[in-house]
Assembly symmetry: C2
Homo-oligomer: 478 residues x 2
């Protein structure tokens, strides 16, 4: 009975996905609204997820030669204006510091929406010879973008991210770095977050302000909408020329460096919620879950139950991220629902009869399966089960991607598919932006990317019927 | 010869300590000036030190029950004004966002100089019952304080820090948390940074804006000046009342919670430089050094040298943070100076004759001592030597503290001591702020703290001669 009462608090996922999402963010205590409009306060449980993403990613970064730095959050307005496309792309979203230390500033200072201009200015100061290259720097920091409509984690005026900015001796090296970082993002999202990605190149219309090429990893959410989850940009010399980032090359000649940038953000927490969640709440993959298993003692008042549960906790906590729920004011039933709602992958129930029989009951969050395990085996068995949950959650998402991916040969098919099915729509395309705009207008779908794995669906553009040169995947986006 | 040429680049430490400091910051590539006035760009080597401080500290935090969060950087001005002393203390240093998204904002938004007001607002929303307590939250983040005079790491308009904010059921618990965090700071600074601390309570004049009591860890720099290196504040109910942070206590009555906050910052990098550095440059304790040992091959062109050096690097790098210097364009002599200047604790020289004899030469940065070690032993021997360096560096600082600590019974002695010796001056005090002000005016020294370890020096206040109630340590500050 408590079961139903509890779940009632959360909106039905298929009834109102947006409301469901907000319910989860607040009730699972991932974040809360703050007094500053459009900004959120990330609470311990949400931040612990971010820390796990950071640790996993940062390790891959460092193995690939990335060095962390920290550069100023405030950018003189004149700097932002040095690259034309870039300033046009970001100007509408910038917040400005205009007063400080009880005085009006002479020049407005932008609060960074991204730091291409800051890194470029410093690189131009530091770069002299080809021997100084590459510079492969990254910062984990906050950024501000004054969005009109905001949603926790997905689109917040302030958010946390990492932004890598690199300069290289050759075009080839820079291009390789762009793709290398995209592969790291794919690994973070697939291996850690258990969400399958679609990898490819953005169309010109969708690429980053100032970039020569933007590569992306896209993910599919429960409602069939698509989330841009990480991007990596190749800039060629688009910034190194206006910012005068040049070096003496091996032949003793002056040359402009080749540049990249790449980033992922706390938006990935939104992806986690929306890709895996269900009617019972959040569902976290074990590798990224702040709590991998929770012990809920049953009939806590009975002699020895609390002690045995505590003992089990101490043993398992050496190897796993554990929690034990000893709250007196709640029933076991309430606790079961509470931890399910918070997405903890495994619940371990332990009552007097279990203790008598030297066993406990494991309940999986992903399948609701109940598994009896002896207390002697549990330390090894738990690892197996967590691994299996991780794989199963990835496969469940993969299955949804499969179901939600359709092919369209003409606009009628496109409209029908996306209205019935949302998801990814694969089509051929002539690479004309006119067709891209028309599709957007008609279907509400943006081009997600031109996948690396190109398929030949037909010879003709889905929109204009002229000769097609690329296979594109489309979808309605967050 | 190269030796001297190289060191010439750095100002003599006893000639102009300020200039020496700036030289080290720039030449060791810890940081550089940025285009934003009063802000610095922390470079990879400097940031790696900060990461080591963070990792060490965060582990101690988590063991003590601290949970990390992230709250907004922008604070509506009205919030900052809720606690009178607090706003008076910070108002002159605040930077304001007044325009965003191409519009003028209705209310100015402060860029956080510290987040008591943000945490307090959220705590008042989240706190209901004594069961919700304590809340022991911390964030690692950037803050802005619009300082008039800035110096890299020591006083920068933007800096990185952690700020912990906690609320508790009882006064006792809150006070204990305040002191517990001070002990953690003492451990970070003494054990990791190898700098002895002076622990105590700040006088009323020197305490944090809005605090009931401020506790501090102070450290002594090479030039005899004192650096406030970490503070922990007990607020009693000074914020919980205006911010309405109350809860139903165990007796069912409404009560205001008891609050603390505490922080350390990138200022500690300044402490590292100034406490340990010498005429040859930076000197880093092994526990916090981004590079613990560097291998410099000698006569690299000779057959097998590079390969053997590389082989040694691979072995040692599994256990230590290693670097190998294979730069072709520099001589070994240049490299020796370069790595000494960067403060690497140990240099390993390896030449053809060493290889023949199955040995290498270890050179200590702290003592310049040269130690011949066989290649079979080096993996264990290096650990011993690094440990010894860590201890020795702490002891060297301790020795300086001893030399630079004096006692004064009257103002004449006080003046003489501080002018001759800088450092810590110990005196008795009547606890009257008039005397504190007079001492400041006369000697340029601020009260550092009333040490936990009180001594009875005399019965009379060093300034007015009336009955003394406290022993105070004074010093000229950064």
């Amino acid at each position: 009975m408590q079961d139903k009462n509890y779940v009632k608090d959360i909106t039905n996922i298929d009834e109102d996905f947006t409301k469901w999402y907000t319910d989860i963010v607040l009730k699972a205590e991932l974040a809360d609204y703050a007094d500053t409009k459009g900004c959120i306060a990330i609470k311990p449980y949400g931040y612990a997820i971010w820390e796990n993403i950071q640790n996993y990613t940062d390790k891959l970064f460092k193995e690939s030669g990335v060095k962390n730095v920290y550069f100023p959050i405030l950018i003189p307005e004149s700097l932002l204006q040095k690259e034309k496309d870039h300033v046009e792309g970001f100007a509408p979203e910038v917040a400005f510091v205009t007063e400080a230390g009880e005085e009006k500033l002479e020049e407005r200072l932008c609060v960074r929406p991204t730091s291409e201009t800051v890194f470029s200015t410093l690189y131009s100061k530091w770069l002299h010879s080809w021997r100084d290259l590459p510079m492969v720097y990254n910062q984990w920091c906050n950024v501000l973008r004054w969005e009109k409509e905001t949603r926790p984690f997905l689109r917040s005026r302030e958010f946390l991210w990492q932004e890598g900015h690199t300069i290289h001796e050759t075009e080839e090296e820079a291009k390789n770095r762009t793709l290398q970082m995209l592969e790291i993002y794919a690994k973070v999202i697939e291996d850690l977050l258990a969400i399958p990605v679609l990898k490819g190149r953005k169309t010109k219309k969708e690429q980053f302000a100032g970039a020569e090429a933007t590569y992306t990893v896209e993910t599919l959410m429960h409602d069939g909408r698509v989330l841009q989850s990480g991007t990596s940009h190749y800039f060629a010399q688009n910034f190194t020329k206006p910012f005068n980032i040049k070096f003496q090359n091996r032949e003793g000649k002056e040359e402009y460096a080749y540049q990249t940038s790449w980033g992922i953000s706390t938006r990935l927490i939104g992806a986690l919620i929306m890709a895996h969640g269900d009617d019972r709440g959040l569902k976290l993959p074990p590798k990224v879950a702040p709590i991998q298993a929770v012990i809920v003692p049953v009939a806590m008042h009975k002699e020895g139950v609390k002690e045995k549960a505590q003992e089990l906790y101490e043993i398992l906590n050496k190897k796993y991220r554990m929690e034990i729920d000893l709250r007196e004011q709640y029933s076991p039933g309430y606790k079961y629902n509470d931890w399910e709602m918070r997405g903890v992958p495994v619940r371990i129930e332990l009552g007097p009869r279990d203790i008598e029989n030297n066993k406990c009951l494991i309940v999986r969050r992903d399948t609701a399966e109940k598994i009896e395990v002896t207390l002697d085996e549990i330390n090894e068995k738990l690892e197996e089960i967590l691994n299996d949950i991780q794989v199963n959650m990835y496969n469940m998402c993969k299955e949804i991607v499969k179901k939600r991916t359709t092919t369209a040969l003409n606009l009628d098919e496109f409209e029908k598919n996306i209205n019935e099915n949302q998801g990814y729509v694969k089509t051929m395309w002539c690479e004309d932006v006119e067709c891209e705009n028309k599709i957007k207008e008609l279907t509400g779908a943006h081009s997600r990317c031109m996948p690396f794995e190109q398929e030949h669906i037909s010879d003709k553009c889905v929109c204009c019927g002229r000769k097609a040169t690329k296979m594109v995947v489309w979808g309605r986006q967050y």
